[in-house]
């Protein structure tokens, strides 16, 4: 089931209120050029990860978000992994903002990095911007 941003925020606030959780939170955001990534959650648990791409001009291709999970420093047992959103947005597009809200969720080890980028599955264009947030208490 997909929950909305508002619901995720509300759930996080509720947990903090009821259980007296520390003010630290997984909620973080990063803008890198035209791409943003936002994670919502509590502590080391991420309930939602989303990304946006600002497209400043007409664009003939399609758009698909991908996410990269990078293990924390010192974790040599795991390698960075890429996850492609199952949702491809079909172009052509006029200037606007693409949004994908299907990034990785769950409980992560402290120091795990979640990054987001966008690609054109038709292969016509390179899309810049790879913001990352580090999951920390």
């Amino acid at each position: 089931m997909k929950i909305t941003t508002v619901a995720a925020f509300a759930a996080a606030v509720l947990v903090a209120t009821v259980f007296g959780a520390p003010s630290a939170s997984a909620n973080a955001e990063k803008d890198d050029g035209p791409v943003t990534i936002k994670v919502l959650g509590e502590g080391l648990t991420v309930s939602e990860t989303m990304t946006t791409l600002l497209m400043g001009h007409d664009f003939p291709g399609n758009l698909q978000a991908y996410y990269v999970l990078v293990p924390p420093p010192g974790d040599t047992a795991h390698r960075p992994q890429t996850y492609y959103s199952e949702h491809v947005l079909d172009g052509p597009f006029r200037p606007g903002v693409a949004r994908d809200s299907y990034g990785p969720t769950g409980a992560f080890l402290e120091g795990t990095m979640i990054c987001a980028g966008w690609l054109d599955p038709t292969g016509h264009a390179h899309l810049s911007g790879y913001p990352c947030v580090t999951i920390k208490q």
Binding site: T4, T5, V6, S23, A24, S25, N27, A28, E29, K30, D31, D32, G33, T36, M50, T52, L54, G56, L63, Y66, V68, V70, P73, G74, R79, P80, Q81, T82, S85, H87, L89, F93, R94, P95, G96, V97, A98, R99, D100, S101, Y102, G111, M113, C115, G117, L119, H126, S128, Y130, P131, C132, V133, T134, K136, Q137
Partner: protein, 166 residues
């Protein structure tokens, strides 16, 4: 103070403090194995430089946000914004070392960054500062380059494409 320093990253700015928060930028051209996980092809002339900011508050809470590191020739001037609940929004700027300086415009003030004050690393200079509560970035400019900031925070949370108003 920071975890990245202990992990062998290169500090690319001194540690700055405003009394409440301490922040510093780091870069690393080696890790992680970017080429394995990011879709190809890379743009011609691109290389890899992972740039992060770390900030610590007076209670010892930290935040670390950055980029996954594709540095493109078409980006002599570049900026990022980082935020985490409980921290101010940090603006990070990087620019090639032969630019004489950078001007940051917000809706409250203009900040002039003199390149001569900043030691270069990896062929670039790096600079960061926290924005005030409610302060919004307008643009980052240098020698004919003007990067206008467009706020996309207001678009709906649902996956989709949202054309900008004409």
């Amino acid at each position: 103070m920071t975890t990245l320093a202990h992990e062998g990253w290169t500090p690319v700015t001194p540690a700055h403090s405003d009394g409440e928060y301490t922040w510093q930028m780091f870069a690393d051209a080696e890790r992680p194995s970017f080429a394995d996980v990011v879709p190809k092809p890379w743009p011609v002339g691109a290389d890899y430089l992972n740039v992060f900011i770390e900030a610590v508050d007076s209670a010892g809470h930290s935040m670390g946000n950055g980029t996954y590191g594709l540095r493109e020739e078409s980006q002599p001037l570049y900026y990022s914004l980082s935020s985490k609940e409980g921290f101010p929004q940090f603006l990070e700027v990087r620019f090639i070392e032969d630019l004489a300086g950078v001007t940051v415009e917000t809706d409250r003030r203009t900040i002039v960054i003199d390149a001569a004050d900043i030691e270069p690393h990896y062929g670039m200079r790096f600079w960061a500062m926290p924005l005030e509560d409610g302060e919004n970035l307008v643009a980052v400019t240098s020698r004919g380059i003007r990067l206008e900031h467009v706020d996309t925070s207001g678009i709906p949370a649902e996956t989709g494409y949202y054309p900008l108003p004409n």
